[in-house]
């Protein structure tokens, strides 16, 4: 899963929601990449939550983050984010088919133009990772930042990797 030539150009269509100079070399489309979550490495600093809430246009409000760090015992943490389920409850329950798979990143993405804000998906996700923005009244979820997840880029413990 890493046979991507370093010289591959960054596709023009990729528009990461954030722009950081330390962005990892991005090869999207050449190989299928996955957000790998490694709770054993997590130090519970919640940088991923902060990165996520900044990446998605908010003023860094961590309550809006699409990844959450949960304590799981003494000095143990588990990061909970969307698993991009193959047979996803959110997409199945959506009455207007607003949640579809992005062919390039394989992420399930909410179309804000199509979502009608009924709230069914939020209640349907078995992992509690569909969110409902009470201001815009639309569903929101992890979209892997269009192929360059900010949480993984900023994780200081390498507990989140996009590879």
């Amino acid at each position: 899963m890493c046979a991507s030539p370093a010289s591959s150009p960054r596709p023009a269509s990729v528009s990461p929601a954030w722009s950081g100079e330390k962005a990892p070399p991005l090869v999207v489309g050449a190989v299928e990449r996955t957000l790998v979550v490694m709770p054993r490495r997590c130090i519970g600093c919640r940088t991923c939550e902060l990165a996520c809430s900044f990446a998605h246009g908010g003023p860094g409000r961590m309550a809006r983050a699409r990844i959450r760090v949960h304590p799981a015992g003494e000095k143990r943490f588990v990061q909970i984010t969307c698993l991009q389920c193959e047979n996803a409850a959110c997409a199945k329950v959506c009455p207007v088919q607003a949640i579809a798979r992005d062919e390039r990143t394989r992420a399930l993405v909410v179309s804000l133009e199509r979502c009608v804000g009924c709230g069914l998906c939020e209640a349907a996700c078995p992992f509690g990772h569909m969110h409902f923005d009470r201001e815009t009244r639309r569903a929101e979820k992890c979209d892997l930042c269009g192929g360059n997840p900010a949480c993984a880029a900023f994780c200081p413990a390498k507990a989140l990797e996009y590879r």
């Binding site: 143990r76 009455p95 069914l120 349907a124 509690g128």
Partner: protein
């Protein structure tokens, strides 16, 4: 098969029959619209998405939301005439709903002077009768809303002014309303909307509201879901998931 249309002389790919507004927005053109929503059929109600057709047998200014893309269609999105007509339509919307913040913001941007003072705490008085809520409610299968009355007395609401049987209190009408004029009140006990009160189905772990009882019953019956489908709230599901993952990892 993809076709080509020309927006401000720029070639854009589209599917035949697609809404011209949708195609233009996808290509990055900024066309204002209030009553447009991808999930439902467009009816050209707010009349702000005007564009000028420059090809074919019927050139002229028309709404783009319910205009279908055809091969070779040429439109322009900005001209003095389009601006003039959009401003006139906005002025008319402002007469109907003088207190609507979204209308007043557009008016400030386009240099339109509102003729009426906004009433205090307008609520449903800010309705522009675009019927987006009616269309969305029907698409969701609830059919709780309709245009009630005719002419000057036309309003949007439950038919005959009585509490609608189909309403489940989901709040999608409020979510899509461009002027945010629909009033919904959530208290810890219940949700009130369109003159009806809905009890919440509560999280079996922490007792927080998850979804209204009626919405839950509707979704479970319509989609054949298991009875316990909506029994746990979002934060509790998250912490349950984290415990489960932790037991696998350590």
């Amino acid at each position: 098969m993809a076709i080509r249309i020309f927006i401000d002389e720029q070639e854009v790919k589209a599917e035949p029959g697609e809404s011209v507004l949708m195609v233009a927005r996808r290509a990055g053109f900024d066309i204002p619209a209030l009553c447009y929503h991808e999930a439902v059929e467009s009816i050209g109600a707010c009349r702000l998405c005007l564009v000028e057709v420059r090809s074919g047998a019927r050139p002229g200014i028309s709404t783009s939301c319910n205009m279908k893309a055809e091969d070779g269609l040429r439109i322009s999105t900005d001209s003095p005439e389009i601006r003039r007509d959009r401003a006139t339509n906005l002025e008319l919307l402002l007469l109907r709903a003088p207190g609507s913040p979204v209308l007043r913001e557009l008016a400030a941007r386009w240099g339109v002077r509102p003729r009426l003072q906004p009433p205090p705490d307008a609520g449903i008085a800010n309705c522009i009768l675009c019927e987006l809520c009616v269309r969305v409610c029907a698409a969701l299968g609830h059919n709780a809303l309709a245009a009630v009355g005719r002419g000057e007395k036309k309003r949007v609401g439950p038919a005959f002014g009585k509490p609608a049987e189909g309403c489940v209190g989901c709040g999608a009408c409020l979510s899509v309303c461009p002027t945010r004029c629909i009033v919904m009140k959530d208290t810890p006990a219940a949700r009130t909307i369109w003159g009806q009160s809905f009890e919440f189905h509560r999280c079996q772990v922490c007792g927080q509201p998850v979804i209204t009882e009626k919405h839950r019953a509707f979704a479970i019956a319509k989609r054949g879901l298991p009875e316990d489908y909506y029994d746990v709230c979002e934060p509790c599901k998250q912490s349950q998931a984290s415990q489960r993952f932790a037991s696998v990892v350590w």
